[in-house]
């Protein structure tokens, strides 16, 4: 192979690598937006042996109710909608109306320390994929 042909092949290899890198970058960005909702807001206020409470809002769709799931010690416990009366969230201007609270009944747990996590459920545009996003911070509590 002469040097001119070799140079052409090198240019093609470099161009191909650049196109593929851009393609992967594009897919990564699209994947991020398909699996993540950057507008979820919320707090896990309290957790004990009787209930787990807090609030969750989707700021991009402030009048819809966010579906939330409770996990205790990394195990799924329950699912519900954040549609309970929480005027304080509205007063604090974190929501457009009073109905974004959630209340879970804590399942029966063994005595000792536990950790509660609440996740907002995010569906992609076609509804084919669902992902979970942590609401607030994990809450540690004890059961006697």
């Amino acid at each position: 192979m002469n040097s001119k042909a070799r140079a052409r092949l090198i240019h093609l290899l470099i161009s191909k690598s650049i196109i593929e890198a851009l393609l992967i970058g594009g897919v990564a960005v699209a994947f991020f937006f398909a699996t993540t909702n950057p507008y979820f807001r919320g707090v896990l206020d309290a957790a004990d042996q009787t209930s787990v409470t807090g609030w969750a809002v989707d700021e991009s769709r402030p009048y819809t109710r966010v579906e939330v799931q409770l996990f205790i010690d990394d195990s799924f416990a329950a699912t519900t909608a954040a549609d309970q009366f929480r005027p304080d969230v509205h007063e604090a201007r974190r929501a457009e109306d009073d109905w974004h609270g959630f209340v879970f009944t804590t399942p029966r747990l063994a005595a000792g320390k536990h950790e509660a996590r609440v996740y907002a459920v995010h569906s992609n545009s076609s509804g084919a994929r669902k992902t979970l996003q942590l609401i607030g911070k994990p809450y540690r509590f004890s059961v006697e």
Partner: protein, 234 residues
């Protein structure tokens, strides 16, 4: 230095620093990366339309074909010929019979039912074989006319380039363990035969028939419907 000399020097600079062997290795890595991108990233993130998967595959084929043109490789050299069809088939016959026998034995011992319609249950056997031949031809073209030939540019004709070609073929079937073993064995046979009798039609025929026999004889759970890449887990 006058402008013409400067241009000539500029054009020859990148080529002068990369040897033919390095370039062949770069070509192999580039095509393998395209297939892995399609298998592991795009097919998983694509929706119902798998068109996006065609992008890296098209890029790979553009590279392969352009590489043939730039290297001055003829269709005959690549294995698109009829004169050595029968000699190539003769070389393939014994390994095909042995592998088929082993597959039938494994299927029998594992209690799998021999089902020649398992691959495409609702289609005629003729269609299955035609599909196997076409798909086999594409794979053998990339594997032998490109990978094997570039491997020979690096390591020369012989065991190393045969094993490297087979290893590449096997890695592209990751993470399906049984398929990786089968494709490595098949890769060794096909690469060996191609180095002696380069004939893509005979290899494609062998590829199609062997896929059909293996899918028909081995337990379906072993091959996991020939799934590879991220799809293997789905």
């Amino acid at each position: 230095m006058n402008p013409t000399e400067a241009t000539r020097l500029k054009e020859s600079e990148p080529a002068a620093t990369i040897t033919d062997r390095s370039l062949a290795a770069w070509e192999i890595v580039s095509v393998v990366s395209s297939v892995l991108i399609a298998e592991w990233i795009l097919s998983a993130s694509a929706g119902r339309s798998k068109l996006i998967v065609a992008i890296p595959m098209t890029l790979a084929f553009v590279l392969i074909i352009y590489s043939h043109v730039l290297r001055g490789e003829t269709a005959r050299q690549l294995g698109l010929r009829l004169d050595n069809f029968l000699p190539a088939l003769r070389l393939l016959l014994l390994p095909m019979m042995v592998i088929s026998g082993i597959a039938l034995l494994i299927g029998f011992l594992s209690g799998a039912r021999l089902d020649f319609f398992r691959w495409h249950a609702d289609r005629l056997i003729v269609f299955q074989l035609a599909l196997g031949f076409g798909w086999g031809f594409l794979q053998q073209y990339v594997l032998q006319s490109f990978m094997n030939r570039r491997a020979q540019t690096i390591w020369g004709q012989g065991a190393v380039s045969v094993l490297v070609t087979a290893a590449i073929f096997s890695v592209l079937h990751f993470p399906n363990p049984w398929l990786m073993v089968i494709t490595f064995v098949g890769g060794v046979v096909w690469a060996f035969v191609y180095q002696r009798q380069p004939n893509l039609l005979a290899l494609a025929l062998s590829h199609g028939v062997m896929t059909w026999v293996l899918v028909s004889a081995l337990p379906p759970s072993a091959l996991n419907h020939l799934r590879i890449g991220l799809k293997y887990f789905g």
